[in-house]
């Protein structure tokens, strides 16, 4: 088995060929980036407004919980049936749009809920002081609430990214590319080294991205909020959340 795996990955064409790992990785990243990008643009402004005004918190919680339990594959097939006949001319769009919708719906809840929660959790006294010293509503939001909410927002984005990376494998079900291609093709042709390569690649990608975002978080979140103080008396550090990566791994294998 190990030998089979080794002989599979030692073939250069399996890496760099037109259907190799790198090409699939590129597709996988593209699907994921589009979906996460759309989610960020939608969920963060909405979350900030809901968190700041306190209006619609209940609706957000409801939506977030409902979407979390989304049956991704079922929805994807439903959307393909619904949408793809409208795009008969362009072959990629008819599959890319349903995939993107599913991934966006999957990633919005954690970003939205964490953004709302992050803003709601800002120390009421700090908010009161900000208003009391004459900050306008948007100054309170951008100068106080957003910087203080960043750790929770980042954690929402990180779990969204992990979930999208794991779930983007299903694009292969509907004849798109991505790392899921290796898994599905490998399963149908009983090339297990290919399956394992695909699964491991997804897991590694998830971990690498998580570490990258953790680094960005480290340099954008104020030390005063994250608790990483330079002097003695440091209490907490923000380590990458390994449990999420493991979770993503499990999801990949479940596919």
């Amino acid at each position: 088995m190990i030998n089979d795996l080794w002989s599979y990955i030692s073939v250069a064409d399996h890496w760099w060929g037109p259907n190799g790992i790198m090409a699939r990785l590129d597709e996988h990243l593209r699907y994921s980036a589009i979906a996460v990008g759309i989610s960020l643009v939608l969920a963060i402004p909405l979350g900030l407004v809901v968190g700041h005004t306190g209006r619609g918190t209940a609706v957000v919680t409801f939506i977030a919980n409902a979407f979390r339990a989304l049956p991704a594959v079922g929805l994807l097939i439903f959307l393909v049936v619904l949408i793809s006949p409208q795009f008969t001319g362009r072959s990629e769009a008819r599959y890319l749009i349903p995939t993107t919708i599913v991934l966006v719906l999957l990633s919005i809840p954690s970003i939205l809920a964490n953004t709302v929660e992050g803003v709601r959790n800002v120390d009421p006294e700090a908010r009161d002081a900000a208003r009391g010293m004459g900050m306008t509503g948007s100054q309170v939001l951008f100068k106080v609430e957003l910087p203080c909410a960043l750790p929770l927002i980042f954690s929402g984005v990180r779990s969204a990214v992990l979930q999208v990376i794991a779930t983007a494998t299903i694009a292969a079900y509907i004849s798109l590319g991505g790392l899921g291609r290796l898994i599905i093709d490998g399963l149908s042709s009983r090339e297990y080294p290919k399956v394992i390569t695909g699964a491991v690649a997804v897991a590694v990608l998830a971990i690498v991205l998580d570490v990258l975002i953790a680094l960005i978080q480290r340099y954008t979140v104020s030390r005063g909020v994250s608790g990483r103080f330079s002097r003695k008396g440091a209490t907490a550090t923000t380590a990458p959340r390994k449990d999420d990566a493991i979770e993503a791994d499990a999801e990949v294998l479940a596919v």
Partner: protein, 371 residues
């Protein structure tokens, strides 16, 4: 000057927090709003900077009706200090203090330099400037809160229970520093507290509010203790009013007597020989009283700090009758220690001498009142 003109706050559910309040907080003075929970003291305070909008009535800031200016403009001209300081956790201490000047368009360098000066002024080590609020104790955070409120040099300061979240020792320290600061700055201050002792200690005038948001009495601390307007105020002001009111009575020149003293390090036996009624006062090198030495339990060798009785309080010359009486009552020798401004020993006075002074004073007041 801040003037409330029949100000009422009624909430949509019908609760009346403040009911027809008329009140003037004079310029350059500390006005304390005090009362039990639910008396509308915080609501009244927050209506001044319109964190809460009055239902009816007007609040004037000097010649300006606060209802006619925009809330942000109004608030930028009013310092605001709250219970837990409400510092911004993501900003360093110096940037917290510089917040309002930066909003008002002061350049960063100037704002930070001013902020550093203010930190020193409120008694914080400038080394704290680069730290974050979470690294400071409650008392230190509260000092930063005061510095931040002072940063734009507003003529008016609103303080909502500013000292109630810190322990009693730190609170007493903050009280002293706050009064010293106010002596330099002369701000118009409205301060809310539920603690009548704090009100008496800090206020130039005290407004006692009762539940339902009406004014029960507006008076100076001495007047409030001496002449509560009704049972509610009397009950709220509490016990020991006679004794506490001595805190506002100037002791004047008390008949002090010279005290034989010993220095630390001198021989025990020699010191004991000097004792009067079994006690002799020990002083330090600068002539400052350190404590009483019990001559009836003679030791041997030189006198050390560990041999001294520390229970006695010390009254300062020109202080209050309360401090003088307390010094006499707390001294194990029965002789209360008085010191000069520079903390050197002036002499001692007994409780009966202080009480005699109190009675003379009361008699003089009765004659004055009868005229």
């Amino acid at each position: 000057m801040i003037k409330f003109e029949s100000v009422t706050k009624r909430y949509p559910d019908g609760t009346v927090a403040v009911n027809g309040l008329d009140l003037v907080a004079p310029s350059g003075q500390i006005t304390v709003l005090v009362g039990p929970s639910g008396c509308g003291k915080t609501t009244s305070l927050r209506m001044i900077n319109r964190m809460i909008e009055p239902t009816s009535g007007r609040i004037w800031l000097d010649e300006t009706d606060t209802g006619t200016v925009s809330t942000s403009k109004l608030r930028r001209g009013i310092g605001y200090v709250i219970q837990h300081a409400g510092l911004f956790p993501h900003r360093t201490i110096v940037d917290n203090v510089a917040t309002v000047p930066l909003m008002l368009g002061v350049d960063k360098k100037t704002a930070r330099a001013q902020a550093m000066d203010l930190l020193v002024r409120v008694g914080l080590d400038p080394a704290f400037a680069k730290r974050y609020p979470a690294q400071l104790s409650g008392g230190q955070q509260q000092r930063v809160g005061v510095a931040r409120a002072l940063a734009a040099d507003p003529p008016v300061m609103l303080m909502d229970e500013p000292f109630s979240a810190v322990d009693p020792v730190v609170r007493a320290q903050l009280h002293e520093e706050f009064l010293r600061l106010q002596q330099d700055l002369g701000k118009t201050i409205v301060l809310v507290t539920h603690d009548i002792d704090e009100a008496v200690k800090l206020g130039d005038q005290i407004a006692v509010l009762r539940v339902g948001g009406t004014l029960a009495q507006l008076a100076t601390p001495a007047d409030l203790l001496a002449r509560p307007a009704d049972d509610f105020v009397a009950g709220f002001v509490g016990r020991d009013r006679g004794y506490r009111s001595l805190g506002f009575a100037d002791a004047g020149d008390l008949p002090t007597r010279k005290e034989v003293t010993v220095r630390l390090g001198s021989d025990f036996a020699a010191a004991a020989a000097l004792a009067e009624d079994g006690w002799v006062l020990a002083i330090g090198d600068a002539g400052e009283p350190l404590g009483w030495l019990d001559a009836s339990h003679p030791g041997t060798g030189p006198i050390g700090p560990q041999h001294l009785h520390r229970g006695g309080t010390v009254a300062t010359e020109g202080g209050s009758l309360r401090a003088a009486l307390d010094a006499a009552l707390s001294a194990p020798s029965g002789r209360g220690v008085l010191v000069r401004e520079d903390n050197t020993l002036l002499g001692t006075v007994t409780a009966s001498e202080v009480v005699a002074r109190i009675e003379e004073r009361a008699a003089a007041e009765r004659i004055e009142a009868a005229r």
